[in-house]
Amino acid sequence: MTGSIGHTLQFLTVFLVIAVSFSLIPILLARIWAKAFSPAKPSSRKNAIYECGLESKGDAWIQYQSQYYVYAILFLVFDVESIFLIPFGVAFLELPPGAVVAMLVFVLLLFEGLVWAWMKGVLNWK
């Protein structure tokens, strides 16, 4: 058992090293090339904010709408719920019937929360 895991770990390490270097080596090569051949020429005109050629005035920061936050929270809640449902689904057949009832209660609680949010109009995008 340990032998096969050690064998797998070896493979994984090698693959990890290859994957990381596959992404890092071209970046390193580009940096070396840039240092050797092309001099850096930064300027404020070059780094100006792109606005189709116009001069942009003011900050690009805006105030985010709260609907984004609400949607993200709802998604998170149901995502976590599905994570709980996955091991339940895997071990479903070995569990006593009471476990189904317990799971049903859990799902219904969250469903009631969804119904409440729906009725409150939270799901309408303003």
Binding site: F37, S43, R45, K46, Y50
Partner: protein
């Protein structure tokens, strides 16, 4: 490297190539244009990029909407004086190495509208232009020829030495002065570092 040695190696399956050639080959065959269609020449540029005359065979696959992702600016159409500062600003925002193609008579010198009050008499007054494609508008084949001319130009660019292009030399500028809209004309009317009126005599 000796030609015979090179062909001998290639027969064995080994390709020997200079770094400079490889660099230029990669760049010239993947010129992504910032299609700057301003007027009628834009239609011909679009036609050149579409099915019959396909520019993407030559590497100009996608016309980028953003200057940060483009390395070729095809100024197609009349540049008005109101638009000129924006053209120069967009050129400044492109990363090196960058090239400019002036397509059509209007971008080269003002074209048929040269006497217009709002017409910039050629975009080469403010930007260094690499290839001029004459025509009003130039046929898509002419656009392709201009692109191929630019590819030849890129092919001949050196990587080291005094003959190397502007973007590899440390002291050379990579962005140019943006003209300001003045009370009667653009200020300055042309960028003296980039363009001078030609000295000619007119014989009667």
């Amino acid at each position: 490297m000796d030609e015979r040695l090179r062909s001998e190696l290639s027969r064995q399956g080994v390709v020997a190539i200079k770094l400079e050639t490889l660099y230029n080959w990669g760049r010239k065959n993947s010129l992504w244009p910032l299609g700057f269609g301003l007027a009628c020449c834009a239609i011909e540029m679009i036609a050149a990029s579409m099915a019959r005359f396909d520019l993407s065979r030559f590497g100009a696959e996608v016309f980028r909407p953003s200057p940060r992702q483009a390395d070729l600016m095809i100024v197609a159409g009349t540049v008005t004086k109101k638009m000129a500062p924006q053209v120069v600003r967009l050129y400044n925002q492109m990363p090196e190495p960058k090239y400019v193609i002036a397509m059509g008579a209007c971008a080269i010198s003002g074209g048929p509208f040269k006497q217009g009050y709002n017409v910039l008499k050629g975009i080469d007054r403010y930007l260094p232009v690499d290839v001029h494609i004459p025509g009003c508008p130039p046929k898509p084949e002419a656009v392709i020829q201009g692109l191929m001319l630019l590819q030849d130009l890129i092919d001949g660019q050196k990587l080291t030495g005094p003959g190397r292009p502007r973007f590899l030399k440390k002291g050379e500028p990579s962005d140019f002065e943006v003209p300001i809209e003045g009370a009667h004309d653009l200020v300055p009317p042309y960028n003296a570092a980039v363009w001078r009126p030609c000295k000619i005599t007119i014989d009667e």
